[in-house]
Amino acid sequence: MPELYEMTATDLAEMLREKKVSSVEITRSVIDRMDAVEPKINSYVNPAPEQALEMAENADQRLASGDDDPLTGIPIAVKDNMCIRGRKTTCGSRILANFVPPYDATVVSRLRDAGMVILGSANMDEFAMGSSNESSCWGPTRNPWDLERIPGGSSGGPAAAVASGAAVVSLGSDTGGSIRLPASFCGVLGMKPTYGAVSRYGLVAFASSLDQIGPFARDTSDLALLLNVICGHDPMDSTSMPREYPDFTGFLDKPLEGMTLGLPEEFFNRLDNPEVEQVISEARSVLEKLGVKFVELSLPHLDYGIAAYYIIAPSEASSNLARYDGVKYGHRADQFEDMIDMYCRTRSEGFGDEVKRRIMLGTYALSSGYYDAYYLKAAKIRNLMTMEFRDAFEKCDAIYCPTAPTPAFKIGEKVDDPIQMYLTDVFTIPVNMAGLPGFTIPGGFSQEGLPIGLQFIAPHFEEGRLIQLAAAFQRETDHHLKRPPL
């Protein structure tokens, strides 16, 4: 029998109901695993084992009294940019190193309501800006499959925690690929839901029109269960969609017969890594055997995705991050001459290089006289991309493509070359630009044994279709069952 920390939430939930195990036992197993692997991986910024065990005890009481939800008692890690009342929430940044929010993010309240056990805050790129988790002020998270490599970013911590058994499931956030890229590099499942499906209230903002919270899991059923917990309208978030969501587990057993997947030529033309190509093509054969048809598509504006994204996201970030000024909370410089000097020193000391780079990019793009040439043009491209996707979905049910151009790269490999780093997100960014749901699942491995993910993209609010595709694929394959050799 496998260790508890290795099991899926679905299996653990069944055992909890059969009284074969308690939430405290599960949580202890996961905490022991954290103790064992964390020195190597560094997936947590603020592990909270004691509070987790308290939550587990409460969960056991709820289970005993029958007042439980499907994921009651299941341990979860939360990315360090979601506010947890009374616990440090730092966003991987020195400027928030001492910040303790007096409120819960809406998703955190939902986890509490569901009786889930919050293990702690997981590592991330500073303010979710990065593709490698190297910009965290708490040091990089390492890829459980190869400790010399990055786990992907910016939700590297939550992905690595699930991959290494230091969490059963986790929550990340995805602004340009920050869930899907680390899912691909760490060999787990990661979904960015439709913009507006999960409340952003209490998610420390990077780029408000692109940020979206989503789940990581080791299996489709777990992911569907967690999606059930987090999706829903929130009156505290004006961009949250007032609508009903289906029970996503209802899509797990649906066949794929008659489904059509689109292949955007702009993505496949850019693919020049043979190992990724091979994984994509083998997975395609599996899907074809399941009755899926493929159709080639052209979405010309996908080519401008990165360029437009690196105007819109930094523009919003430059404004969102203005509040970190040393006046009210967070870091304040010790020594300063006057108010302006206090602002300058606080922000110079508090922010890392990548964050500063994006604040400067965004400040420039919004400046008087440049707005039309940059921000406005980028916004127009964004609209065109959205329309192209809408047209594409007339011809197919979902889009099939890689998540990343390569498997995980080495720590330090791209850290001095921001453009190369930005290009890592070429297949994920357009999904955020159009507000669509995107799902990365393990598709295979490189010769060196590094995971390579597949990506499915669906029309708005069709997360169920993504679950249907992933579940069917995983019934035929075992890539998602492989565990890193730690």
């Binding site: 940019n81 979601m82 506010c83 929430t89 966003c91 928030l96 910040f99 929010p101 007096p102 409120y103 993010a105 952003r200 209230y201 209490g202 998610l203 420390v204 903002a205 780029a207 408000s208 029109s209 009156p235 505290m236 978030d237 004006s238 961009t239 523009s315 919003e316 430059s318 404004s319 203005a322 509040r323 000024d325 006046v327 009210k328 909370y329 108010m339 602002y343 400040t363 919004l366 400046s367 008087s368 707005y371 921000y375």
Partner: protein, 480 residues
């Protein structure tokens, strides 16, 4: 050279909503510093704004009252600048797509009525307050006001004098107060005004270089600042110097303006659409419902008063400056239909006691019933107009009925001809030389005899009857 003055005003009005524009905090004034706050208006990480529907309705009402077009889709934008009273370091405002545009109001100065154009009316949030320590180089931040809903009303550069600017300001304030969406208090800052002013040679259509004036917290100071600025700019232009486009602060004690920052030093606010708030859609139905619910506005009420009560335009203007004052007038004429008499009394006695604060009428101790009763006493001849003023003061001080006061103080007018004849005869007998002077042709001495009678009755003699009797008695003495 002769110059034409061009003035445009930007007005900020705090809306009287119970809660703030983007969170549930109370807007109550005077609470302990930073007690009306929550994570949202404190700008904590991860919080999000949700717009106050009431603030939208209030803004739509003002826009409709000012004949603006309501944009079916408008957008919130972020205005980015750093200041400690602005926790997010950006203000949620509207920029490219304001809620409403292209309106006008009528403004009267010196008997001339002109339409002043309104460029736009948009919604935004207020900033907090800094309190500076007088002894130490320390400032304190109070964020109670942060996030209180404001509307900004921007006029066209169409006013031609400080008087007209002031009249425009009064007119807008009056509309806001009529709509019960702003208390219009300039001293407390719930109604604020910045002015843009430039001069140009008469006849020229191109605008001159403007300056922006700030820190004028009363109607009077707005006029004073503009007047000073006209003189300053005129002098510069006459000397052949150029006007520097800048923002200037008015110093109320010195009555002058001084430069705060030039155009080059102006902020670049980096406006962009706020991604936390979706485009705002005002359904035509909502606007139509709000239009139907609009009360009678100052201009309409003024026209009706002239028409219905036959009072002069000036009276109607004063009486309709406040909705409550107008209601007071209407209630009083209902009970005492001498319109002009009621109008005179309100404009003199009542306004004097209110000390120019029209809004005080709601809590004033003399009710329309009381005033009407007093005026009836004059009509019936029970008291004279002069005594009535004393009675009115007493009513204001004690809140008592006029009849009670008249009785208690024995103020009933003496109109009894027999009694007055006695008194007149005594006055003539006591002052034979004055009688002689009168009979010799000095008619002005008549007032002296009236005074004697008034003195003897402690002012209660009916002046009409006294004059009548006096004329008869003097006639008799002249004939003998």
């Amino acid at each position: 050279m002769e110059y034409e003055t061009v003035i445009g005003l930007e007005i900020h009005a705090q809306l009287l909503t119970d809660s703030k524009a983007f969170c549930g905090c109370t807007t109550r004034f005077g609470n302990d510093p930073n007690s009306n706050t929550c994570p949202i208006c404190l700008g904590m990480p991860g919080v999000l704004p949700v717009f106050n529907r009431k603030a939208l309705e209030f803004t739509v009402k003002m826009a409709l009252a000012c004949h603006c077009t309501i944009n079916e889709v408008s957008r919130f934008a972020r205005k980015n600048y750093y200041y400690p009273d602005l926790p997010k370091n950006y203000q949620i405002s509207q920029y490219e797509l304001p809620l409403s545009e292209h309106g006008w109001v009528e403004v009267e100065t010196g008997g001339e009525i002109r339409k002043i154009g309104i460029t736009r009316i948009h919604m935004e949030e207020d900033a907090g307050k800094l309190v500076h320590d007088e002894n130490k180089p320390v400032s304190y931040v109070d964020l109670n006001r942060t996030g209180v809903p404001l509307i900004e009303i921007v006029s066209e550069p169409e006013m031609r004098s400080p008087e007209e600017a002031s009249a425009y300001l009064r007119s807008l304030r009056s509309i806001l107060v009529y709509l019960e969406i702003c208390d219009g208090n300039m001293e407390e800052g719930s109604f604020r005004c910045d002015a843009n002013i430039s001069l140009r040679p008469k006849g020229q259509t191109e605008l001159g270089v403007k300056t922006e004036l700030k820190n004028m917290n009363s109607f009077r100071n707005v006029q004073r600042a503009l007047q000073y600025e006209i003189e300053r700019q005129t002098e510069l232009l006459n000397e052949g110097q150029a006007i520097v486009q800048d923002t200037r602060l008015f110093d109320p004690s010195a009555g002058t303006t001084s430069s705060m920052r030039t155009k080059e030093e102006a902020h670049d606010y980096r406006y962009f659409p706020d991604p936390d708030l979706l485009p705002l859609r005002v359904a035509p139905d909502l606007a139509e419902d709000l239009r139907k619910g609009l009360p009678e506005l100052p201009a309409q009420k003024k026209a009706r008063f002239i028409e219905q009560f036959g009072i002069p335009a000036y009276d109607a203007g004063v009486l309709t400056a406040s909705r409550d004052l107008a209601a007071y007038f209407e209630q009083t004429v209902e009970l005492h239909p001498d319109h002009k008499m009621v109008s005179n009394w309100i404009m003199t006695e009542v306004m004097r006691e209110l000390k120019g604060e029209e809004e005080g009428i709601t809590s004033c101790p003399v009710s329309p019933n009381g005033l009407a009763a007093l005026l009836k006493l004059i009509d019936k001849g029970t008291i004279s107009g002069k005594i009535a003023k004393t009675v009115f003061e007493e009513m204001w001080a004690t809140g008592e009925e006029p009849a009670t006061i008249v009785e208690k103080k024995g103020l009933v007018q003496v109109s009894d001809t027999g009694r007055l004849t006695e008194l007149v005869q005594k006055a003539l007998d006591d002052n034979p030389s004055e009688v002689e002077k009168y009979l010799a042709g000095n008619k002005r001495i008549l007032g002296f005899f009236v005074g004697q009678v008034m003195k003897a009755t402690k002012g209660k003699a009916n002046p009409k009857v006294v004059n009548q009797v006096l004329a008869e008695e003097l006639k008799k003495r002249g004939a003998s």
